[in-house]
Amino acid sequence: MTSPHPPLLSPGYKSTVLRAPRQAPILLPHTLTELTGPVLGEGPVAAADADLTRDGGGEAQGQRIVVHGQVRDADGRPVPDTLLEVWQANAAGRYRHKWDGHDAPLDPHFAGVGRTMTDAQGHYRFVTVKPGAYPWGNHPNAWRPAHIHFSLFGRAFTQRLVTQMYFPDDPLFAYDPIYHSVPEFARDRLVAGFDLSATVESWALGFRFDIVLTGAAATPMETR
Protein backbone atom coordinates (compact mmCIF):
# COMPACT_ATOMS: atom_id res chain seq x y z
CA MET A 1 0.00 0.00 0.00
CA THR A 2 1.19 3.50 -0.78
CA SER A 3 2.13 5.45 2.33
CA PRO A 4 0.34 8.75 2.98
CA HIS A 5 3.47 10.19 4.57
CA PRO A 6 5.94 12.54 2.86
CA PRO A 7 9.35 11.18 1.87
CA LEU A 8 12.01 12.37 4.31
CA LEU A 9 14.07 13.71 1.42
CA SER A 10 11.84 16.32 -0.23
CA PRO A 11 14.32 18.79 -1.77
CA GLY A 12 11.71 21.50 -2.35
CA TYR A 13 11.81 21.84 1.44
CA LYS A 14 15.48 22.73 1.70
CA SER A 15 16.05 21.73 5.30
CA THR A 16 15.41 18.09 4.41
CA VAL A 17 18.56 17.90 2.27
CA LEU A 18 21.05 17.70 5.14
CA ARG A 19 18.71 16.14 7.68
CA ALA A 20 17.04 13.23 5.90
CA PRO A 21 18.91 9.99 6.58
CA ARG A 22 20.34 8.48 3.39
CA GLN A 23 20.55 4.85 4.47
CA ALA A 24 17.42 2.76 4.07
CA PRO A 25 15.70 2.18 7.41
CA ILE A 26 15.84 -1.31 8.87
CA LEU A 27 12.49 -2.99 9.44
CA LEU A 28 11.78 -3.17 13.17
CA PRO A 29 9.71 -6.11 14.37
CA HIS A 30 6.86 -4.96 16.59
CA THR A 31 7.80 -6.02 20.09
CA LEU A 32 6.04 -5.00 23.28
CA THR A 33 8.19 -1.85 23.27
CA GLU A 34 6.60 -0.64 20.03
CA LEU A 35 3.10 -1.93 20.77
CA THR A 36 2.83 0.04 24.01
CA GLY A 37 3.13 3.77 24.63
CA PRO A 38 2.79 6.41 27.30
CA VAL A 39 -0.47 6.55 29.22
CA LEU A 40 -0.43 10.14 30.38
CA GLY A 41 -3.86 10.46 31.95
CA GLU A 42 -5.07 13.91 32.87
CA GLY A 43 -1.80 14.74 34.61
CA PRO A 44 -0.31 17.22 32.15
CA VAL A 45 -3.61 18.83 31.13
CA ALA A 46 -5.91 21.41 32.73
CA ALA A 47 -9.31 22.31 31.26
CA ALA A 48 -8.08 25.84 30.52
CA ASP A 49 -5.35 24.40 28.30
CA ALA A 50 -7.95 23.79 25.60
CA ASP A 51 -8.58 27.54 25.28
CA LEU A 52 -5.64 29.37 23.71
CA THR A 53 -7.32 32.77 23.63
CA ARG A 54 -7.00 33.88 27.25
CA ASP A 55 -3.36 34.22 28.16
CA GLY A 56 -2.05 36.98 30.37
CA GLY A 57 -5.39 38.13 31.72
CA GLY A 58 -7.01 39.27 28.48
CA GLU A 59 -8.38 38.19 25.11
CA ALA A 60 -6.28 37.29 22.10
CA GLN A 61 -6.64 39.32 18.91
CA GLY A 62 -7.97 37.70 15.77
CA GLN A 63 -10.73 35.54 14.33
CA ARG A 64 -11.88 33.26 17.16
CA ILE A 65 -12.35 29.64 16.04
CA VAL A 66 -13.37 26.28 17.45
CA VAL A 67 -11.31 23.33 16.17
CA HIS A 68 -12.65 19.88 16.90
CA GLY A 69 -12.59 16.36 15.53
CA GLN A 70 -12.27 12.68 16.25
CA VAL A 71 -9.08 10.64 16.57
CA ARG A 72 -9.42 7.13 15.15
CA ASP A 73 -7.14 4.21 14.38
CA ALA A 74 -6.66 2.65 10.97
CA ASP A 75 -9.65 0.35 11.55
CA GLY A 76 -11.90 3.31 12.30
CA ARG A 77 -12.04 2.74 16.06
CA PRO A 78 -11.96 5.85 18.27
CA VAL A 79 -8.74 6.53 20.19
CA PRO A 80 -9.89 7.69 23.63
CA ASP A 81 -7.93 9.38 26.42
CA THR A 82 -4.92 10.34 24.34
CA LEU A 83 -2.98 13.57 24.69
CA LEU A 84 -3.27 16.08 21.87
CA GLU A 85 -0.89 19.04 21.87
CA VAL A 86 -1.13 22.04 19.54
CA TRP A 87 0.98 25.09 18.84
CA GLN A 88 0.65 27.89 16.31
CA ALA A 89 1.42 31.44 15.24
CA ASN A 90 -0.86 34.25 16.39
CA ALA A 91 -3.39 35.99 14.16
CA ALA A 92 -0.63 38.17 12.71
CA GLY A 93 1.51 35.18 11.75
CA ARG A 94 4.05 35.53 14.55
CA TYR A 95 5.24 32.82 16.95
CA ARG A 96 6.20 33.65 20.50
CA HIS A 97 9.68 32.22 20.03
CA LYS A 98 13.12 33.81 20.25
CA TRP A 99 14.01 32.77 16.70
CA ASP A 100 10.89 34.18 15.03
CA GLY A 101 12.04 37.47 13.56
CA HIS A 102 8.97 38.12 11.42
CA ASP A 103 8.04 41.82 11.49
CA ALA A 104 4.54 41.25 12.85
CA PRO A 105 3.22 42.03 16.32
CA LEU A 106 3.28 39.67 19.26
CA ASP A 107 0.04 39.40 21.23
CA PRO A 108 0.35 39.53 25.03
CA HIS A 109 -2.80 37.43 25.27
CA PHE A 110 -1.73 34.66 22.92
CA ALA A 111 1.06 32.23 23.82
CA GLY A 112 0.13 29.84 21.02
CA VAL A 113 0.15 26.53 22.91
CA GLY A 114 -2.73 24.24 23.91
CA ARG A 115 -3.33 20.73 25.22
CA THR A 116 -6.32 18.49 25.62
CA MET A 117 -7.21 14.81 25.96
CA THR A 118 -9.58 12.98 23.65
CA ASP A 119 -12.78 11.86 25.36
CA ALA A 120 -14.16 8.31 25.56
CA GLN A 121 -15.23 8.49 21.89
CA GLY A 122 -11.93 9.97 20.69
CA HIS A 123 -13.31 13.48 20.30
CA TYR A 124 -11.35 16.63 21.08
CA ARG A 125 -12.17 20.33 20.95
CA PHE A 126 -10.25 23.50 21.53
CA VAL A 127 -10.75 27.23 21.10
CA THR A 128 -8.13 29.44 19.48
CA VAL A 129 -7.72 32.17 16.89
CA LYS A 130 -7.04 31.56 13.22
CA PRO A 131 -3.27 31.75 12.76
CA GLY A 132 -1.85 34.13 10.17
CA ALA A 133 0.29 33.03 7.25
CA TYR A 134 3.97 33.81 7.78
CA PRO A 135 7.07 34.21 5.64
CA TRP A 136 10.01 31.81 5.84
CA GLY A 137 13.39 31.62 4.21
CA ASN A 138 13.02 28.48 2.13
CA HIS A 139 12.88 30.29 -1.24
CA PRO A 140 12.18 33.83 -2.49
CA ASN A 141 8.85 35.20 -1.28
CA ALA A 142 8.04 31.99 0.58
CA TRP A 143 4.94 31.99 2.82
CA ARG A 144 3.55 29.15 4.87
CA PRO A 145 -0.20 28.63 4.53
CA ALA A 146 -2.04 29.18 7.81
CA HIS A 147 -1.64 26.04 9.94
CA ILE A 148 -1.82 24.61 13.44
CA HIS A 149 0.81 22.10 14.58
CA PHE A 150 -0.62 18.92 16.15
CA SER A 151 1.11 16.22 18.20
CA LEU A 152 -0.54 12.95 19.27
CA PHE A 153 0.63 9.86 21.14
CA GLY A 154 -2.15 7.42 20.32
CA ARG A 155 -2.10 4.10 22.16
CA ALA A 156 1.31 2.84 21.14
CA PHE A 157 4.79 3.96 20.11
CA THR A 158 3.85 2.88 16.57
CA GLN A 159 1.03 5.45 16.48
CA ARG A 160 2.99 8.58 17.46
CA LEU A 161 2.16 11.40 15.04
CA VAL A 162 3.14 15.03 14.56
CA THR A 163 1.35 16.86 11.77
CA GLN A 164 -0.10 20.21 10.68
CA MET A 165 -3.73 21.17 10.14
CA TYR A 166 -4.48 23.58 7.31
CA PHE A 167 -7.56 25.68 6.49
CA PRO A 168 -9.81 25.17 3.46
CA ASP A 169 -9.08 26.86 0.13
CA ASP A 170 -5.82 28.50 1.14
CA PRO A 171 -4.27 30.10 -1.98
CA LEU A 172 -0.80 29.44 -0.53
CA PHE A 173 -1.14 25.65 -0.89
CA ALA A 174 0.04 25.92 -4.48
CA TYR A 175 3.39 27.38 -3.39
CA ASP A 176 4.12 25.45 -0.19
CA PRO A 177 6.72 22.66 -0.40
CA ILE A 178 5.81 21.27 3.03
CA TYR A 179 2.17 20.77 2.05
CA HIS A 180 3.32 19.43 -1.34
CA SER A 181 5.71 16.94 0.28
CA VAL A 182 2.64 14.82 1.05
CA PRO A 183 1.55 12.41 -1.72
CA GLU A 184 -1.22 14.06 -3.68
CA PHE A 185 -3.88 11.51 -2.73
CA ALA A 186 -3.44 12.31 0.97
CA ARG A 187 -3.07 16.11 0.97
CA ASP A 188 -6.73 16.83 1.65
CA ARG A 189 -6.44 14.76 4.85
CA LEU A 190 -4.49 17.69 6.30
CA VAL A 191 -7.16 20.29 5.48
CA ALA A 192 -9.85 20.96 8.07
CA GLY A 193 -13.42 21.35 6.90
CA PHE A 194 -15.51 24.38 7.71
CA ASP A 195 -18.16 23.07 10.13
CA LEU A 196 -21.23 25.20 10.60
CA SER A 197 -22.47 22.85 13.32
CA ALA A 198 -19.37 23.63 15.41
CA THR A 199 -19.71 27.35 14.87
CA VAL A 200 -20.86 29.17 18.00
CA GLU A 201 -23.41 31.79 17.05
CA SER A 202 -22.17 35.36 17.42
CA TRP A 203 -18.91 34.09 18.89
CA ALA A 204 -16.63 31.74 16.89
CA LEU A 205 -16.34 29.89 13.56
CA GLY A 206 -16.05 26.11 13.63
CA PHE A 207 -13.66 23.76 11.84
CA ARG A 208 -13.48 19.98 11.92
CA PHE A 209 -10.22 18.04 11.66
CA ASP A 210 -10.38 14.26 12.09
CA ILE A 211 -7.12 12.40 12.59
CA VAL A 212 -6.30 8.78 11.76
CA LEU A 213 -3.37 7.15 13.58
CA THR A 214 -1.97 4.07 11.89
CA GLY A 215 0.21 1.48 13.55
CA ALA A 216 -0.54 -1.57 15.64
CA ALA A 217 -1.16 -1.42 19.38
CA ALA A 218 -1.29 -4.07 22.08
CA THR A 219 -4.51 -4.50 24.00
CA PRO A 220 -4.12 -3.55 27.68
CA MET A 221 -4.21 -7.24 28.67
CA GLU A 222 -1.03 -7.87 26.70
CA THR A 223 1.07 -5.14 28.23
CA ARG A 224 1.72 -6.58 31.67
Binding site: L40, F157, F185
Partner: protein, 171 residues
Amino acid sequence: MTAPGTPSQTVGPYLSIGLSWAEGPAVVAADTPGAVWLRGEIRDGDGAVVKDALVETWQADPDGRFHTPGFRGLGRCPTGDDGRYAIRTVKPGVVADQAPHLAVSVFARGLLHRVVTRVYFADEAAANAADPVLARVPGERRGTLIAEQSADGYRFDIILQGPDETVFFAL
Protein backbone atom coordinates in the same frame (compact mmCIF):
# COMPACT_ATOMS: atom_id res chain seq x y z
CA MET B 1 -3.83 0.82 -3.03
CA THR B 2 -3.39 3.83 -0.85
CA ALA B 3 -3.00 3.44 2.89
CA PRO B 4 -5.18 5.14 5.48
CA GLY B 5 -3.72 7.62 7.95
CA THR B 6 -3.22 11.30 8.52
CA PRO B 7 0.09 12.29 6.89
CA SER B 8 3.00 13.40 9.04
CA GLN B 9 4.43 16.92 8.83
CA THR B 10 7.53 18.52 10.31
CA VAL B 11 7.50 19.98 13.82
CA GLY B 12 9.06 23.09 12.30
CA PRO B 13 11.56 25.39 14.05
CA TYR B 14 9.23 26.46 16.87
CA LEU B 15 8.47 23.02 18.28
CA SER B 16 9.57 24.03 21.77
CA ILE B 17 6.44 26.20 22.08
CA GLY B 18 4.23 23.15 21.99
CA LEU B 19 6.39 20.24 23.00
CA SER B 20 8.63 21.28 25.87
CA TRP B 21 7.55 20.27 29.33
CA ALA B 22 9.39 21.33 32.45
CA GLU B 23 9.31 17.72 33.66
CA GLY B 24 9.87 16.20 30.20
CA PRO B 25 13.50 15.20 30.68
CA ALA B 26 12.77 13.55 34.05
CA VAL B 27 11.55 10.01 33.44
CA VAL B 28 12.41 9.41 37.10
CA ALA B 29 13.05 11.63 40.11
CA ALA B 30 16.65 12.55 40.90
CA ASP B 31 16.75 10.38 44.03
CA THR B 32 15.57 7.22 42.24
CA PRO B 33 17.99 4.31 42.77
CA GLY B 34 19.88 3.71 39.55
CA ALA B 35 18.98 7.10 38.02
CA VAL B 36 21.33 8.02 35.16
CA TRP B 37 21.56 10.82 32.61
CA LEU B 38 21.32 9.88 28.96
CA ARG B 39 23.03 12.72 27.12
CA GLY B 40 23.99 13.39 23.55
CA GLU B 41 23.93 15.70 20.61
CA ILE B 42 22.21 15.63 17.25
CA ARG B 43 24.12 16.46 14.07
CA ASP B 44 23.18 16.84 10.42
CA GLY B 45 24.89 15.71 7.21
CA ASP B 46 27.40 18.58 7.44
CA GLY B 47 28.26 17.75 11.04
CA ALA B 48 26.42 20.85 12.27
CA VAL B 49 24.48 20.55 15.50
CA VAL B 50 20.69 20.45 15.22
CA LYS B 51 19.27 22.95 17.67
CA ASP B 52 15.60 22.59 16.73
CA ALA B 53 14.99 18.93 17.43
CA LEU B 54 13.13 16.92 20.04
CA VAL B 55 14.19 13.56 21.45
CA GLU B 56 11.54 11.30 22.94
CA THR B 57 12.25 8.02 24.71
CA TRP B 58 9.88 5.19 25.65
CA GLN B 59 10.92 2.29 27.81
CA ALA B 60 10.09 -0.48 30.23
CA ASP B 61 10.78 -0.15 33.94
CA PRO B 62 13.81 -1.82 35.57
CA ASP B 63 11.83 -5.08 35.76
CA GLY B 64 11.09 -5.01 32.04
CA ARG B 65 7.42 -4.08 32.48
CA PHE B 66 5.39 -1.37 30.78
CA HIS B 67 2.69 0.80 32.34
CA THR B 68 3.84 0.20 35.89
CA PRO B 69 1.92 2.59 38.17
CA GLY B 70 4.14 5.52 39.02
CA PHE B 71 6.57 4.90 36.15
CA ARG B 72 5.85 7.20 33.22
CA GLY B 73 8.31 5.55 30.85
CA LEU B 74 8.34 8.62 28.60
CA GLY B 75 11.25 11.03 28.33
CA ARG B 76 11.16 14.18 26.25
CA CYS B 77 13.80 16.85 25.68
CA PRO B 78 14.21 19.51 22.99
CA THR B 79 17.78 20.18 21.92
CA GLY B 80 19.37 23.42 23.03
CA ASP B 81 21.41 25.92 21.03
CA ASP B 82 24.32 23.48 21.33
CA GLY B 83 22.30 20.64 19.77
CA ARG B 84 22.35 18.68 23.01
CA TYR B 85 19.64 16.86 24.90
CA ALA B 86 19.61 15.17 28.32
CA ILE B 87 17.11 12.72 29.79
CA ARG B 88 17.24 11.38 33.35
CA THR B 89 16.04 7.81 33.53
CA VAL B 90 16.82 4.32 34.76
CA LYS B 91 18.10 1.49 32.63
CA PRO B 92 15.14 -0.71 31.66
CA GLY B 93 15.01 -4.42 32.37
CA VAL B 94 14.95 -7.22 29.84
CA VAL B 95 11.80 -7.25 27.67
CA ALA B 96 11.13 -10.82 26.54
CA ASP B 97 14.21 -11.93 24.59
CA GLN B 98 15.60 -8.42 24.07
CA ALA B 99 18.53 -6.65 25.66
CA PRO B 100 17.70 -3.54 27.73
CA HIS B 101 16.80 -0.77 25.30
CA LEU B 102 14.89 2.47 24.85
CA ALA B 103 12.72 3.27 21.84
CA VAL B 104 13.59 6.72 20.50
CA SER B 105 11.76 9.17 18.26
CA VAL B 106 13.57 12.19 16.85
CA PHE B 107 11.60 15.13 15.50
CA ALA B 108 13.14 18.25 13.95
CA ARG B 109 12.73 21.07 11.51
CA GLY B 110 13.59 19.47 8.19
CA LEU B 111 12.28 16.04 9.22
CA LEU B 112 8.90 15.59 7.56
CA HIS B 113 8.37 12.46 9.61
CA ARG B 114 9.96 11.39 12.88
CA VAL B 115 12.93 9.06 12.66
CA VAL B 116 12.98 6.07 14.99
CA THR B 117 16.01 4.49 16.59
CA ARG B 118 16.93 2.51 19.72
CA VAL B 119 19.37 3.02 22.56
CA TYR B 120 21.23 -0.05 23.83
CA PHE B 121 23.84 0.04 26.58
CA ALA B 122 27.57 -0.63 26.25
CA ASP B 123 27.74 -2.41 29.61
CA GLU B 124 25.24 -5.05 28.42
CA ALA B 125 27.56 -6.68 25.91
CA ALA B 126 26.33 -10.24 26.44
CA ALA B 127 22.66 -9.31 26.21
CA ASN B 128 23.35 -7.09 23.19
CA ALA B 129 25.07 -9.97 21.42
CA ALA B 130 21.89 -12.04 21.73
CA ASP B 131 19.41 -9.27 20.90
CA PRO B 132 17.16 -10.11 17.94
CA VAL B 133 16.79 -6.49 16.78
CA LEU B 134 20.52 -5.75 16.87
CA ALA B 135 21.00 -8.97 14.92
CA ARG B 136 19.16 -7.34 12.00
CA VAL B 137 21.66 -4.48 11.88
CA PRO B 138 24.86 -4.89 9.85
CA GLY B 139 27.75 -5.37 12.28
CA GLU B 140 29.65 -2.29 11.16
CA ARG B 141 26.66 -0.03 11.95
CA ARG B 142 25.56 -1.65 15.22
CA GLY B 143 27.77 0.66 17.27
CA THR B 144 25.55 3.63 16.39
CA LEU B 145 22.87 2.10 18.62
CA ILE B 146 25.08 1.55 21.68
CA ALA B 147 25.20 4.26 24.36
CA GLU B 148 28.66 4.55 25.93
CA GLN B 149 29.11 4.90 29.67
CA SER B 150 29.88 8.44 30.85
CA ALA B 151 30.57 10.24 34.11
CA ASP B 152 26.91 10.45 35.10
CA GLY B 153 25.23 7.86 32.90
CA TYR B 154 25.42 7.25 29.17
CA ARG B 155 26.21 9.15 26.00
CA PHE B 156 24.18 8.63 22.82
CA ASP B 157 24.73 10.94 19.85
CA ILE B 158 22.35 10.90 16.90
CA ILE B 159 23.80 11.52 13.45
CA LEU B 160 20.99 12.15 10.99
CA GLN B 161 23.06 11.74 7.84
CA GLY B 162 26.54 10.90 6.61
CA PRO B 163 29.21 8.22 6.98
CA ASP B 164 28.48 7.76 10.70
CA GLU B 165 24.73 7.90 10.22
CA THR B 166 22.74 6.43 13.11
CA VAL B 167 20.73 3.33 12.28
CA PHE B 168 17.06 4.23 11.92
CA PHE B 169 14.16 1.81 11.83
CA ALA B 170 10.96 1.53 9.87
CA LEU B 171 7.96 0.52 11.96
